[in-house]
């Protein structure tokens, strides 16, 4: 925090410790709340089934396992949606989880749909555009399965990626209910352990798997463990960026994360409506989503 007597900068242990403690959670209690959340918030719409896009990654594994606990395995459909460049190991990991949970699953290849759309474009899109197209193609297939299976879409976006805007709006961010949106990535890992998610899924490097060899942490330029500490202190504990920098966190990282949170705010809100009347939807016409339920 401040130069010590010998003049060297020391890290504010208490701030890091505060983040570490704050991110440490009671997995059993958390799972209990989240299972009940899925059951309650879906059942009140007269539905007792769920569909989950299962990628083979840890986030969708946790959402899927929680949904299976909430409704029982037969009422949860895992939807696997590989693209031709997807890592085959991802599908293998997803199938391992499907077998372990004993839930029905379906595989919908998105290659033809995505390539068909890409073929209509005049130019070769960059990886970001390709990734967005894939994420939105999956959303279309997933919401179709939602209707076919008669279950609501359970989301798979964690708090870290929601805050960073590291997701595709109307793509992988789309869901009816999201049990893990208030869990940082490192907390998702703890919950995954409590849910007996296979080690192969828990231990591999996080990846959106939108192109060969993609790694979240390489692409973002920081590791989730540190990012989660910074975000936790900024968001949950309401420290100022300067407090964190004083506390020994890397200034560039703190500013980068803060910028990402601000810049992606639009992704976390509904589209803006131009106000004209005295009672505009979501501005002054404010009813709970669970209206009458």
């Amino acid at each position: 925090m401040r130069p010590s007597a010998t003049g060297e900068m020391t890290v504010d242990v208490s701030l890091r410790e505060r983040a570490r403690r704050g991110l440490d959670l009671d997995s059993g209690l958390t799972c209990r709340v989240l299972e009940a959340f899925i059951r309650d918030e879906i059942e009140k719409f007269g539905i007792q089934r769920a569909v989950v896009a299962l990628s083979g990654g840890i986030d969708s594994a946790v959402s899927c396992a929680l949904a299976a606990r909430a409704f029982g395995p037969k009422r949860v459909l895992a939807v696997l949606m590989p693209y031709r460049t997807s890592n085959p190991a991802s599908r293998g990991d997803a199938e391992t989880l499907v077998d372990q949970l004993g839930i029905p699953s379906t595989v919908i290849e998105i290659s033809a749909a995505v390539d068909g759309l890409l073929g209509e474009l005049d130019e070769e899109p960059n990886p970001l555009r390709r990734g967005n197209i894939m994420a939105r193609a999956r959303m279309i297939a997933l919401y179709d399965q939602s209707e076919a299976f008669g279950g609501l879409v359970v989301g798979t976006s964690n708090k870290t990626e929601l805050l960073l805007g590291y997701g595709t709006q109307f793509g992988d961010m789309a869901s009816a209910v999201n049990p893990i949106g208030d869990l940082y990535k490192t907390q998702v890992r703890a919950v995954a352990t409590a849910l007996d998610v296979p080690a192969a899924i828990r231990d591999k490097a996080p990846s959106a798997d939108l192109w060969v060899g993609q790694s979240d942490e390489d692409e973002l330029g920081f590791d989730y463990a540190t990012a989660d500490q910074v975000l936790y202190l900024l968001i949950d504990e309401m420290y100022a960026p300067a407090d964190l920098i004083d506390g020994g966190f890397d200034a560039d990282l703190v500013h980068d994360l803060q910028r990402r949170v601000v810049r992606s705010q639009f992704k976390r809100r509904l589209p803006l409506i131009a106000k004209l009347s005295n009672r505009t939807i979501d501005r002054d016409f404010r009813y709970p989503r669970d209206w009458g339920r």
């Binding site: 009671d26 709340v33 309650d40 918030e41 209910v177 709970p288 669970d290 209206w291 009458g292 339920r293």
Partner: protein, 289 residues
């Protein structure tokens, strides 16, 4: 105080559905009365649900509204404490706790401290009350507070100083805080500490009735409890699940504990009143409010 049997109705109301919630109340009242309870207590806004926003004017009722007649009728068998939103004759909407006895309101408490921070936005839609009073019933002298009221320790102090042997806290407390190692929600931990503290220091019974269920993703954790004047938890409902839980509240416990720990006897109400009046006056003249 006369000894009595209390029932905690830890219910899961539907948001903005009076008809459904009224039926829910009648069911729990029937069960509580059948099992011999003298009083049944429901949570905050048990008749309406909690996160109402623009639904407030749709579910608010004047206390003489005929839709409350079934509850009045039911209170001929058993005293009923329930939460609703009261509409005044000048069309303000106030979070309210009503005490029904033999078909009549003995007392209505309006939530004094509206909560408008964090996830709460009550002051947008609701008006706050302006008094904390204990009131007499055939059982004894009691007081009701609502949720955020209890986060201001002065409300419990006023209720106790006004002679309440039982302080009821009706709440819709959102569960939050899942820190490792505690095995209970942060909000539950705080409430349980408050309930024990108030019961112990005011040497009275504290009855906390919290709801369960979810509204727009927010969970209400339940864990309703009755704490005796020595701080002992006499009954506790499970977390997260609907429940009807019973406890016996005995005058002998009040007598014994007040003999051992005569805090209430020694409370200097005059000092409190004069000092608070002085502080209020000084703040008013210094800060203009």
């Amino acid at each position: 105080m006369h000894d009595f049997q209390l029932a905690l109705a830890q219910v899961r109301p539907a948001l903005g559905d009076l008809e459904h919630n009224l039926a829910l109340h009648l069911d729990y009242i029937e069960r509580a009365a059948t099992d011999g309870a003298d009083v049944v207590v429901f949570p905050e806004q048990s008749l309406t649900g909690y996160f109402l926003s623009d639904l407030v004017p749709d579910v608010a009722l004047p206390r003489d509204d005929p839709r409350l007649d079934p509850l009045r009728e039911a209170s001929r068998r058993i005293d009923v404490i329930f939460g609703f939103v009261e509409e005044t004759s000048d069309h303000r909407f106030l979070p309210a706790a009503g005490y029904l006895h033999k078909g009549e309101f003995v007392h209505v408490h309006h939530k004094v401290y509206l909560v408008t921070y964090g996830l709460f936005d009550e002051a947008r839609d609701l008006a706050g009350g302006g008094s904390v009073r204990a009131f007499d019933t055939p059982i004894g002298r009691q007081a009701m507070l609502i949720c955020e009221d209890l986060w201001h320790p002065t409300t419990a102090s006023i209720a106790a100083a006004d002679g309440a042997d039982v302080i009821y806290g009706l709440s819709s407390s959102p569960g939050r805080g899942v820190a490792g190692g505690t095995h209970e929600l942060g909000s539950a931990e705080t409430w349980r500490a408050m309930n024990r503290l108030y019961a112990t220091l005011h040497v009275c019974y504290v009855v906390h009735c919290n709801r369960v269920g979810f509204e727009d993703g927010v969970n209400f954790w339940g864990g309703s409890e009755v704490v005796g004047p020595d701080g002992e938890v006499l009954a506790r409902a499970p977390d997260f699940e609907e429940a009807l839980v019973f406890a016996t509240l005995a005058d002998a416990s009040l007598r014994r504990q007040r003999t051992r720990l005569p805090l209430r006897r020694d409370e200097n109400v005059t000092l409190n009143g004069l000092e608070f009046a002085r502080i209020a006056a000084q703040r008013h003249w210094r800060d203009d409010g």
